[in-house]
Amino acid sequence: MSTKANLLVVDDELIVRDSLDKWFREEGYDVTVAENAQEALSKMAAKRFDLALVDIKMPGTDGVELQRRMREVDPEMLVIIMTGYASVETAVSALKNGAYDYVSKPFDPDDIAHTVHNALSHKRAEQENTRLRETVAAVVRPQEIVGQSAPMVRVFEAIQTVGPTEATVLITGESGTGKELIARALHAASPRHYNPLVVLHCGALAETLLESELFGHEKGAFTGAQYRKKGSFEIADGGTIFLDEIGDISLKTQTDLLRVLQEREITRVGSSHPIHVDFRCIAATNRHLEQLVEEGKFRPDLFYRLNVFQIQLPPLRERKSDIPILVDHFVRKFASSMNKRITRVSPAAMALLDRYQWPGNIRELENAVERAMVVAQGPELRESDFALRLPIIGSASRTLEDMEKAHILAVLEECKGNQTLAAELLDIDRVTLHNKLKKYGWKRVIADVA
């Protein structure tokens, strides 16, 4: 049996109080009665009530005024006003002051039972809804954005400012800096956060496939299209679409994308019927879009459409003061998932992590900690735990690019030239690795190794 709801009956007439007391008790409620406003408020001070039935016409403080005072004491308590006669004015006045409902005496038993039952159900539903919202908020709120450094404080401020708006956001930053986490935080901070966040990694898809992924397709639109499929924009209806690696899409797809952003309409591949979609767009790239625009590889109008508000994520080497708390965060995370009692990192190991330049940024740090946690024997992560798979590039005279090259090469050597495995270890996608190898001219060397 569920817990009894607490009712407070306030009426100056004894017979009404007694009748309601008896009747509601039989209905399974816990009933308290009060003769006037003062007694009612005093009983509220001693006990919490779910619902009050308040007579509108009482000597001294009337029901409407009492209801106002009750709301000051307990805003969550529902109030149902009892009137001796059906008066639209009093009913409106009571409802305007926050009463849940009003009932005219004498009550139809079915009506009063339903009114009270519905009011309490409504209250329970609201309370449940609040709890669920809090739970969902806790779930969807990214807990992994860790940082106290000045650049990250600026990022957090930007999330707070632009998150709750409808503005399109462009997140820029190197691979592994946490662009998707920022997109999730923006979505979580927006009123759209009860609707989907659809993540699409544009760089990972071929042009035709990307078009189908973005806009959906009709059955038979192309070979293999056996079923009608909704695109990401349709799935994101009411929510947010996150277009990662936006700098990697073709000019053709850029044109289609621009039209969707302007018109808020999509047309499935193989269809001629436009579908209205309601979404917020967040895009991210690790490339310099301005430069791509100058080179004619990225449409300037799309760039301006995406670059309404830009959040630039600093690379880890520019926020090294965050390394200790990031490491602590990852140690806790993996200690829990691996069920290991590792709680700290030795000073030497921490110094090592601080010296390293982290070309793969936080993702690389996370992987390094994870690997160290796997091999660690004691309760502490030591320098040697990291040295197993994390070569340190020591020379201070080397540029960042040199270190990245060296690190990628070292990992490739370790993987015996297997690019797929190397990309996995570096925690970057294969296309990014391929581009970097091409840029650094390492492709042939790796081929030799293989």
Binding site: V16, E26, E27, G28, F107, D108, A113
Partner: protein
Amino acid sequence: MEESDSRRGVSRIQILPIGPIRPEVLSALASGLTAEFRQACELLPEAPDPAFAFNVTRQQYSATEILASLAPRITERTGRLLAVTPLDLYIPILTFVFGEAQLSGRCAVVSYYRLRQEFYGLPADEKLFRQRVLKESVHELGHTYQIEHCEDYECVMSSSHSVEWIDLKTSSFCPGCRSSVLSLALGNHP
């Protein structure tokens, strides 16, 4: 805990008609109550019209006043006293009641004024009517055994403020309510 009826040597339900009621209705009610409470029923002579309980303004009879008037009728033979009436009953705060009972007392009253299909402009249904009378009688007597409203909608002790809800429930107690009633009615021998 109230002393069990069996220990007092009285375990009979007395049925008091208030107003003219067809004998077959009372007879069917007595059979149903005997089966449900495992107690003998006794039909009392018809009581006079309770004019004292009539409210001119509402054109209804006060259930509370009728209930209060039953107390002097309790004798050593009375296990429970159930008044049954064709009159329309009310309590001050409600437009009508099907019945009223003394929670943990011995008296209850049931009105069948609103239990007939004809009241709702529908064709008479004698079987349904008798079922409703039995259900409401068992329900009100259940209150005298300290049973409050039950959340099991099929239990006779579920709350019902309209005939639709009465029709939905059975004339029997759910296992929980039955156990409570019988432990009192039969002296802890459910």
